[in-house]
Structure formats: C-alpha cells, structure tokens
Point group: C2
Chain length 418, copies 2
C-alpha cells in the first residue's frame, strides 16, 4: 500500500502554552484534514521563540509531508513567525502589490487608518505560494521543500478557517490525489447505557480487526467506538469499515444509537423535521444551555419555539404557571415542579412537545435529601407529562452538560412514540 499523507500541526503562541487560550484551531483543522484522508500524526504547541520554531521543524521534518503552522503573524512586535521562517528557508521578504491593494481596501472599507505597520503585512517571502485571507491582514504562506511543505497562517480562528476554506484544503486534496497516497478513514459508532469495560467484554476477542483499529471513547453521552483503516481509496476503506461495523453491531446492537457519529442535537433535529413537530423547553439549572445547544444548528427555528429560563421561583410561577403550592410543598427540584414546568412550556410556547430541567448544579444548594447533582427532567407531549430523576455528580459544568444530554435523549424517545 502507498504511504499516507502525514500532517503535523504546530501552534505558536505563549497564550496557548500558559492556558490563556483554548486551542480550538487544531481541533477544527484535524477534522477537516481527516475528511480528506490525511493522517494527522501530531499537534505541537510552542512559545513565540525562534529556537522553538526551528527545532520543531527539525524534529518532525523526516516524518511529515506537511506542516501547518498557526499564529505569530500579527502586526505587533511579539509576532515573529514570518521573519523566522523566511530566514530558515533562505528566502527574503518582498512587497506583494496585489496584497497591498487588498490591504488598503480592507482598511478603507472598515473606516480604519492604514498605518505604517500595515505595509509589513504585504511583505511576503518571495518564493512562497500565497493562500489569500479575505477577512484579515495576514496571508497564508506555503514554503516548499523537496520532501515536505510548510504552511504558515494566522492563529485567529476566523482567518485560519477563511484561508483553509477558500483555497488551502483544496490544495491538500489535490496533493493527496497527485501523490497517490493511501487514505486514513474512520467511522464512529455511538452507544449509550453501557460502561466501557462491559462493552469491551461484549465485543470480546479483537482478532476480527485484522490490523485495523478500534478505540473506546467514553463521553457524557455514552461510549463511542471508533473504527479506523488505512486503504488505497475511500471506496476500499468503506468496504472494510462496513465489515467491521457489521461485526460490532451484531455483538452489541442493544446499545447502539448511531453508526454515523451523529450527535444528539442532530438526531433530534432530523427526527423533528421528519415528523414536522415543534419543541420548547423550561430550564432552571441549565440556565439556557439546552436552548443554546439546540439553536447552535442552523435552521433550528423551524422546530424550536424557545426556552423559558426560569431561575427564580417567582419566574417559574409567573412565566410557566408553576403553582405556589407545588413550590412550597415540594420545592423547585421535584417531580411535581418538573411536570408543571414542562406543561407550562408546552402551553406558553404552543409546541408539540416540551421538556423541563430543574436540579441542583452545585457547588452550593445541596441538602441531605437532595444532594448536589439531583436533577428532575420532565417531558410533555400529547401523550401526557412525566418526569424522571437523575443523580449526577458534584461538578457544576458536568451536571449541566449531563442534564442537557439526558433531556435530549428523553425527548428523542418521546418523539419516537408520538
């Protein structure tokens, strides 16, 4: 089999090393590269220092076909990447007139002055191939060597994505085809309601993999099983993965809810669109997280009417008509309150179904009877209204995440019934 197209992602920036910024760039880039069949072998994060930049190239250059560097291309003194790389590759900076024209337009259209330091953004390495950035000032620069290539891009996520989507991903695709590289292809099966080790025992002997890979990935919404194969083409990979998927599906069909790595938001969206139903929510401890996740999908206005975030008891009463008796007798974190909240949301938002989430996210507010992590989730549909109790853990953010995903799961099960 031919060799795979290897990629190393290098992120430059002290803010990443010290944890001031979460590195979402490598996450996005890796996903996009994997779709093209590339083999992302490593991510490396380093400081804005010349020696670090150069030694990272030396360490990986025999292992990789492509480096993607992000960061250190801004207009201020702490941005050194362009100078260091240009010198390392024995090139010199030259004024690129088309880039200068673009930059002048860019600032004029934003009513911002064109400063001296902006001229420098049009000074680019003479031998490099330029991949344009149409939403910022720093351009993508590709340095080409005999055995590898190196792209340097800005670290601002929007600009990095712009360069990739405009032209760079297309370039990578053409390289993989031109080199006749083998492709790395993955498929993820999602399970729910079974622990990692029990799932491993259920699958048993792994000789069926025949050199292909199987990984177990526990997450809030269940254990994911990721299959991977290296093949000469996407078609060939598909045949291999179909075989492996069939084997696993036979072993543990009871626990599988998606063989397409579809998450719960998307499953819910597909189901609601298919059945032409609308939903709404009443949120207490999740504070809008459920609505926020649902509306992260474009087009969600077609099936999502809204969510009443009612943090105070007064709001639960005023907005959702939760009765004062219920709040007094059972408290806000109770089956009765969850049921009335779900009913209230369904009625106020005039939706086909509604869910409610009320619980103690923590770290404060727990009692002996209702410890931190106690959450009631109500579901209302034309079949009636019911609520379910969950006891999660002590971490506020995890409790909010788990509440949200369990609410989606209950809603999916209910939609299948109506």
């Amino acid at each position: 089999m031919s060799k795979s197209y290897n990629v190393v992602l290098v992120s430059i920036g002290d803010e990443l090393c010290i944890g001031q910024t979460l590195n979402t760039n490598v996450h996005w880039l890796s996903r996009e590269l994997v779709k093209l069949g590339a083999n992302v072998i490593s991510h490396l994060t380093i400081k804005d220092e010349k020696d670090e930049i150069i030694s990272s190239i030396k360490y990986f250059k025999s292992k990789t076909d492509l480096f993607i560097f992000t960061g250190g291309l801004g207009p201020t003194h702490d941005d050194i990447t362009k100078k260091v790389l240009t010198k390392y590759f024995n090139d010199t900076l030259e004024m690129k007139d088309d880039v200068l024209v673009y930059l002048k337009k860019y600032f004029a259209s934003r009513n911002r002055p064109f400063l001296d330091r902006h001229y420098e953004q049009a000074m680019l390495p003479s031998k490099s191939k330029i991949f344009p950035n149409t939403v910022g000032t720093a351009q993508g620069m590709l340095f080409m060597q005999d055995n590898y290539e190196l792209l340097s891009m800005p670290g601002v996520p929007r600009e990095m994505k712009n360069i990739c989507e405009n032209s760079f991903l297309e370039y990578v695709k053409s390289k993989i085809i031109e080199n006749k590289n083998s492709v790395m292809v993955y498929r993820t099966i999602r399970t729910v309601g079974i622990a990692e080790s029990t799932l491993a025992d259920l699958i048993g002997d792994i000789s069926f993999l025949n050199g292909n890979s199987l990984a177990f990935l526990p997450s809030y919404s269940g254990v994911k099983l990721r299959l991977g194969t290296k093949a000469n083409s996407f078609e060939e990979a598909s045949v291999i993965l179909d075989g492996l998927e069939k084997y696993i599906t036979e072993k543990c069909s009871d626990y599988i809810y998606s063989t397409k790595d579809e998450d719960l938001e998307n499953q819910l969206a597909s189901l609601l669109s298919e059945k032409k139903l609308t939903i709404s929510a009443a949120e207490s401890c999740t504070g809008g997280l459920f609505g926020s996740k649902i509306t992260s999908l474009p087009g969600s206005s077609r099936y999502f009417n809204g969510s009443a975030v009612t943090y105070s008891n007064e709001a639960k009463n005023n907005i959702l008509n939760v009765s004062e008796e219920t709040l007094d007798n059972f408290g806000a974190v109770s089956k009765e309150c969850a049921i009335e909240m779900a009913r209230g949301a369904k009625e106020k938002y005039n939706s086909d179904l509604a869910i409610s989430i009320t619980g103690i996210a923590g770290p404060e507010g727990g009692t002996e009877d209702k410890p931190v992590g106690t959450v009631w989730i109500g579901v209302s549909s034309k079949n009636g209204t019911d609520a379910h109790k969950f006891i999660f853990g002590k971490d506020r953010e995890i409790n909010r995440e788990l509440s949200t995903y369990n609410a989606m799961n209950l809603l999916i099960n209910e939609i299948k019934k109506v």
Copy 2:
C-alpha cells in the same frame, strides 16, 4: 536568577489527533501550573503508539523538569501508556493492594461487576509514586529520573482534575519551592473598543519592557495585553508587573476595562452583587447562550432571574407581550421589537434590569435590508428602555458570541448608571 521549573504536557490519543475530541485538558493544566509559577514550555499531542511515546520523551527530556502525560490508561486493548512507560523506565508492574481495595469498593458502590480486566488497573509500576484517583479506576503514576520526572494520568478530564486537585498540584508546588526555582508570572489587562495595531501605536516604543514580555491578544470581547516576567519570587514579580501596568495604563487608560483579567461574566456578577440588583434576559438569535454563560458562574441565582428564549414570533408575543403590530410592521429583528422584548423580560421576571437580543445569526435569513449579522440589543432599567444596532459578520457561532458579549457590555454600562 535561578532557572524556571519547566513543564511539557503530552496528550496521548488518536481521538485528539483526528479532531474527534477537543483538548481541554492542556488548557486547564496549563492554567493551574502557571498559577504555581511553573513555565509550561510545550504541549504535544501524539497517537497511542509506542514509538511516538518514547520519541517524545527523548525529544524533550533535556529541556524539561516535568512531563505530564494524559491518556491511554483505560481498561481496553487500545490503552498502552502504562506498559510502554513501565518498560521504558526499566520497571515492572506489581499489584498494589490498597488500590485493589479501592477499586473493589468503587465498583460495588456503583452496583457494577468487578471484571477480570479491572484487576489490571491495580497493577502499577513498582518504583513509581502513586497519586490517587478517587473518581475513576486509573491512578496517577510518577516515574522519577535523575534530571526529570514524568507523571502519567488518565485523559478523562474529571479524573485528571481529581488527581491534580487531590495531591499532584501540591506536589509540584513543593518541588518549585524545594528547587528554589524562579517563577514565571503573568498579568493581563483587558481593553475594549480599540484595534490591535492602533493599541500598539498608542503604547509605542517597547523599551520600557526591559526584557519582560508584552503580548497582544485579540478576542471577541476586545484586545488583551498580557505582561509576563521571570522573577525570584511572586513578590518580586508583582513589583515589576505593577511598574509595567502603570506605564501601559497611562498610555491607554481610555480603553482599559480590567487589569485583573476579569471577564465580562465576572464583572457583571461583581457589579450586580455589589449593587444588589437582579437581571433577566429575552433571547432570540442567541437561543439561551446569554443565560448559559451567566449561569456558568456558581451563585448566579442570586442576581439572575432567568431568560425567555423566544425563537418564534408567537412566543415573543405570548411570553414577552411583544405586540403583533410591532412584529408585522417592523419584524422581529428591529429596534422596536428589541425594546418590547427587553421591557417584557423586565416585567415578566420582575428584575431590576433586562436585556434583549434579536438578530439574524445566519447562515440563512438575511435580506438586503437586514443582512446576516444584523443584531439589535435592547436594555431596560428604571431609567427607561433603549436598543442598539450591531452589524457583525457571516459566521453563526461568532455572531452569537459577539451578541452575548456586547449584551453583557451594554448591561454593565447601564448598571453603572442606575
């Protein structure tokens, strides 16, 4: 000056390399280590492969005092870290009885069977120091060499944090004191309403830094200026940073809103607590994101009454009393609607202030008059109600983030007036 305590973070897992999982571990770990004065020099992500694990140690071992490895310690066949490290450090695995006792209790308390493969989680390298995990099965193991140490922990964020918070961070702190290492200390000044390059011009000549560092970090909520220094103690660092902060504050005081790297959620929380005021929200295009961010802070129930997520026009009318005339004549994305939404939220949630957010997040729904990215944000207080128009960009997620942060900013300004 003595040398700093250098740390390299190595994350093991194919799911990270291929972008299936966002690496939040290194972000959290870096922040915690920096608080102790450690110098995090690099993050490296590699696949679950023996050669990659070993060559990463070889590459960094002369540069670092501590490696922190996360991942690859689960109970399934794809987890190889423990075996590889134990062999590399010429150690052998032995049964740790206290860990076995813990594991049996762990499974019993969860009503889960104790499987054969769980015994292996109590087999640990004989010479390593164990840092206990009290929320999972894989323990932290510290391999000690003459010139560096290496901690291996599970990659599940909750378990990794548990090990660190229980004992490992305390251990790092004691090492830094014992070694009399110099400390790396940072301070971040937040600005708003000024572009990165204009800010750089305003600050001008950087010779005042005198070898200390200044980085410019653009973000959705404005440009952050991060100062950094290496000193013999936190006290010494504080004096140096005070001087640098004073210099910068004099140059650009008009644009600084925090010298403590406090984000808008926390600023809002402090202000509301101090003035004993409550808020509520009416959200359309942000779908709950505003409420979700506000309630991510513990104790937010003291000042946040709730948010009405009204995605449909009907819900805007039913729940917030936005008039049908307004919706018919001006549409949902209008000054008039934003004002009525803010008023409606203030009234329904009986809060001292309310904000509203209504706009076109995209990618669909734009018109010539109201392109994607058009957002109206309303603010209501005892001083009356007004709304402000924003035109952001074309990216749905960025529009939602920018709407949320601008709403917080408007609210902060209004709170200062009431």
